[in-house]
Symmetry: C2
């Protein structure tokens, strides 16, 4: 993982020095293609590389088997063989979708991530999870496929719309809660600098999150145990996303999910009530939602948790912190919570 | 890999003793479902396991992203979580298709193979390759996903139509050429016993082929080098299948492909002309094609080799034997052959 302003320039030099494939296929949504993808592809071609850009319509609605199929048909038309490599340029949707294309094209070709959103830099581009959504649930079909390299250039974040930037901060807060208490304290004291997209601060944050996630994932690539800690806030978040038919943004759902699940943690793990308050205040100061959107009923959210793909034998499990910066140790990361307790936490939150 | 008559009974006992998933989803085409799948699912349910059978229309035409999608939608409807396992019951198409479903459902769930064709027992069920076809080419989208277990019950072969049985013999001959000279000699002297589906002989053959392939694949799971030897006969076979729009059966294409490629080997590796003759005679004695179907032109076959997914920088590579039972050593397994030499070999063959 290369982090920092200037990572884009480094990407080009490193692709030239050691191309991951005889031909490079960049995949980007049409927004990112306009902002970054076309110029990157043109520059690579100018420097003598065989690079093509494939575009798809921006938005989570594109993260489907149908879009994957369109991209594959295009790869076939362009004669992409097993010696090609995929360069995913974009946010979380592109990481997951283009990553899954790379995972299965000719049974797997090399993948390079160029995340262009904060969410992708701190989360989606790290860890090798790829997937598409099904009409009924997120990420139900996918694969584990580790990228050869990740180039996180915080300069690219300057073009990111506010809502997208802020939702990325939710995953940064999650990282801090699950494993970096000092990052959490720094965010509490410098929320404004972060919201102003201070470059130095962004580098610090992206590096801390990517490193933490990389460390967790290396120990548990296929999510058999320890990796589960990354799911803090996500059980409720996925339920809200399902109920909203994916109109709620992922980061917003995660922020609200952390508020609810930190309440569960107070009872289940002894997570200090004071820490729960700090978490809620930090999220608020970053402009993230801490209460339930009243158009989604408590009952619907509870029901939706049972459709989560991590549910085993209908018992819903939660990855809960013990305190800020500290999760329950490995094997205990997945705690079963009753529907009644979840319902109480949902009603108490916002 | 469990081989032998009685493997079906063992399958049931072992699934009961140590179920690979909380719920089992059997996948079979409608023919195999009628012959074996429904009774197997019923028996598993009778013994207390949670087992469902998913059917799809028989035939290579079903090995598509569309069929995969239908099966996935069905898994979702049935509430299949990440704690389920897939049991693939059928021939090569089912191995590849159901294997690919298992490889990507919730980013990979356990897979058990119950091959019901000779081709699947000696080849498709072994080695972890899964895939679907694209309109323009075979196996272009897929994944490596090793099965937890393979149960090859030769008793099931009694219901296999002749054409399917005989095409499986082509892969058996290929195994013998690439790594088992004594199996080749035994086949030469006992072709009739094999065609009569002598059970003891079938066990010997299936065990030998599955063991050989397993040994090769273990050394090179992701086909970076040594595994390429398995492709003897297959470069031409894939071209013929493409040209015929997949109306030629895979085993038939492989038999013809071996005839052509063994001619290439005479020049390229010093494969003895006498061995080439033995190979051709053995294929003939088994009722396999050794000449070109005149409806497919030499030119079209040559052109189609360039669409093979193993082609790198437009140079077509062949895995060629040095003698019966012996391939070129690892790194040299992929030999580049000019179009002119291929054309000559195609014209000389039948």
């Amino acid at each position: 993982v290369r982090v920092g302003s200037g990572a884009r320039a480094r990407l080009i030099e490193e692709l030239l020095a050691e191309p991951p494939g005889a031909r490079l296929f960049l995949i980007a949504d049409d927004n990112v293609a306009r902002l970054h993808g076309r110029s990157l592809a043109a520059e690579l071609r100018d420097r003598g590389l065989d690079a093509e850009l494939l575009e798809f319509p921006a938005g989570e609605a594109s993260k489907t088997r149908a879009t994957k199929q369109v991209l594959e048909d295009r790869l076939f038309e362009l004669g992409a063989g097993r010696d090609c490599a995929i360069v995913a340029v974009g946010g979380g949707v592109t990481c997951d979708l283009a990553g899954f294309v790379a995972a299965t094209w000719h049974r797997g070709v090399p993948l390079v991530h160029v995340p262009t959103s904060l969410l992708a830099m701190v989360d989606a581009a790290i860890g090798g999870k790829t997937a598409v959504d099904l009409p009924g649930g997120k990420n139900l079909v996918g694969a584990f496929h580790q990228p050869e390299a990740v180039y996180a250039d915080v300069d690219l974040l300057s073009t990111l719309p506010d809502a997208y930037f802020v939702e990325g901060l939710a995953e940064v807060v999650k990282s801090a809660v699950i494993g970096d208490a000092s990052l959490f304290r720094e965010m509490e004291s410098s929320a404004e600098r972060l919201l102003a997209r201070d470059e130095e601060w962004l580098e610090r944050v992206v590096l801390a999150c990517a490193t933490l996630k990389g460390r967790i994932v290396r120990r548990d690539e296929r999510e058999t145990g320890r990796r589960a800690v990354l799911n803090f806030g996500h059980t409720v978040a996925h339920a809200v996303e399902t109920v909203s038919n994916y109109t709620v943004r992922h980061g917003h759902a995660v922020a609200y999910g952390m508020c609810v699940e930190s309440r569960l943690a107070v009872d289940a793990t002894g997570f200090p009530e004071r820490h729960r308050g700090r978490l809620e205040r930090l999220l608020e100061s970053l402009g993230l939602p801490t209460g339930r959107d009243s158009q989604f009923s408590v009952e619907a959210i509870v029901a939706a948790t049972h459709r989560d793909k991590k549910v085993r034998r209908d018992r819903v499990r939660y990855a809960l912190p013990r305190r800020i910066g500290r999760m329950l140790p490995g094997g205990q990361a997945a705690i079963v919570v009753d529907d009644a307790d979840l319902e109480a936490a949902l009603r108490a939150t916002g």
